[in-house]
């Protein structure tokens, strides 16, 4: 096989690869800004501070996605509550803009999606924190889990 043909074959493999089930990308962090003790800080899903993900199935995807949400954040003092309202979740197919369409959902509930080739689903999540006045200073942490399941 000539060198040229070898290179073309390798190039073909590089382009074709394997069928890919899906790609989940964290696009944006959820940022509350300065937290003031004794008040509630709420980031809505339309805010540029909301968390954002992109689900991209290369071949398509029929399935679900769901969040496992922490209710408290652990830190040096008493647990810090974090809450999610029934309208803190939002998803939209193919458009990376939550403010003009899409589906608002309760992030506690599973969402079904059906995508065809090269479509994307964008997912946004907001949340609230309400540290009491006597919350002990320090860093509080928790883990949110996004599970994407292909129904096949």
């Amino acid at each position: 096989m000539s060198r040229r043909r070898v290179i073309l074959v390798l190039f073909g493999f590089a382009l074709s690869g394997q069928p890919v089930a899906g790609q989940v990308t964290t696009l944006h962090n959820l940022t509350f800004g300065t937290i003031t003790s004794g008040t509630t800080t709420h980031v809505v899903y339309t805010s540029s501070s909301a968390a954002q993900w992109q689900i991209h199935p290369t071949l398509g995807l029929t399935g679900t996605f769901q969040f496992t949400l922490p209710t408290t954040l652990s830190g040096p003092g008493a647990s810090l509550s974090i809450t999610y309202s029934s309208s803190d979740g939002h998803w939209r197919a193919n458009t990376n803009n939550p403010s003009t369409g899409g589906t608002t959902f309760d992030p506690h509930n599973t969402q079904s999606i059906a995508l065809v080739l090269s479509q994307n689903v964008y997912v946004w999540l907001g949340a609230s924190v309400s540290p009491p006045l006597n919350q002990k200073p320090g860093t509080y942490t928790g883990t949110v889990v996004l599970t994407v399941t292909g129904l096949l």
Partner: protein
């Protein structure tokens, strides 16, 4: 004048192709995981398989892979979801406990890929048929910050992100065949849609992974609405589907549902082929 070496020594078609690869825009996402293989099929001759994980992000990623047992079912409204079990009966065709992953935990550098090898070690004298598991690829990347600069009280909150991707694993022993029987097709007109449901019962000894195609035809046989619903029938399923009927004149139509052994989101070579079956009912639009 010296001749440029490397890329520019190649002939123009090859050079153009390689340049095209180099010019693909890089996506600067912080945390991004691709799971290759939308479905993993392993047979009893090799008992091995693999899953490729690709970190397309710009930060290293910690990944872990595990298994559990579950299959899609429908709720009372016809919505599909993955049913899981906390306790497994011996009669369940679960392969989850037989699948070993090498490695189970791995570190993937940015813009690189890693291969997880799967080995199935089933019990002896396993009956012919298909055994199922779900692979969970869990990844952790960077942290997302809930709090910017701490205020005077010094409170800062951080939220770790974990992304889990679940793909199906099918372990096939001996001769496997599948099919599906259709029954109880019915529909109601709801606003600008015709909402239908149909009962599907799996045949054979393997899951039916395919689609149902719903079509609404007028009295002269023209297709006036169509919808494809990918699904997997492991035992029974009674999914809901809807067809757009806005603008269709009132009158009699034929609603047909056909079960096909292919689906748009999966390569056909990974699926078991079946003979298409269909069922029809007459409907009247008001």
């Amino acid at each position: 004048m010296p001749v440029p070496r490397g890329l520019f020594m190649l002939r123009s078609p090859i050079r153009a192709a390689l340049l095209a690869l180099l010019l693909v825009p890089a996506r600067g996402f912080a945390q991004s995981l691709m799971v290759a293989s939308p479905i993993v099929t392993i047979d009893d001759r090799t008992r091995t398989g693999l899953v490729v994980l690709i970190n397309d992000g710009i930060v290293p990623m910690e990944a872990s892979i595990s298994t559990f047992y579950g299959y899609p079912v429908t709720d009372s409204l016809g919505r599909m979801y993955l049913r899981t079990f906390t306790d497994l009966a011996d009669t369940m065709p679960s392969a989850a406990a037989w699948v070993q992953c090498f490695p189970r935990r791995l570190h993937i550098e940015p813009k690189s890929r890693a291969t997880v090898r799967l080995l199935v070690t089933p019990p002896a004298n396993l009956a012919s048929g298909e055994y199922w598991a779900r692979l969970v690829v869990a990844t952790k990347g960077g942290q997302i910050s809930l709090g910017g600069l701490p205020d005077s009280s010094g409170i800062e909150a951080k939220l770790d992100i974990e992304v889990r991707s679940v793909v199906g694993l099918f372990y096939r022993v001996g001769a496997v065949k599948t099919g599906v029987a259709l029954a109880n097709l019915r529909s109601t007109e709801q606003g600008d849609s015709l909402v239908g449901r149909v009962a599907l019962t799996r045949q054979g000894n393997a899951a039916f992974v395919g689609s149902i195609k719903a079509q609404l035809r007028d009295t002269i046989g023209n297709v006036r609405a169509e919808r494809l619903l990918p699904l997997g029938v492991y035992y029974t399923l009674e999914p809901r589907f809807s067809l757009p009927v806005a603008g269709l004149p009132p009158g009699r139509y034929a609603l047909t549902v056909e079960a096909l052994s292919n689906r748009p989101d999966l390569p056909s070579n990974l699926l078991l082929s079946t003979v298409p079956v269909q069922t029809s009912v007459e409907v009247r639009l008001e």
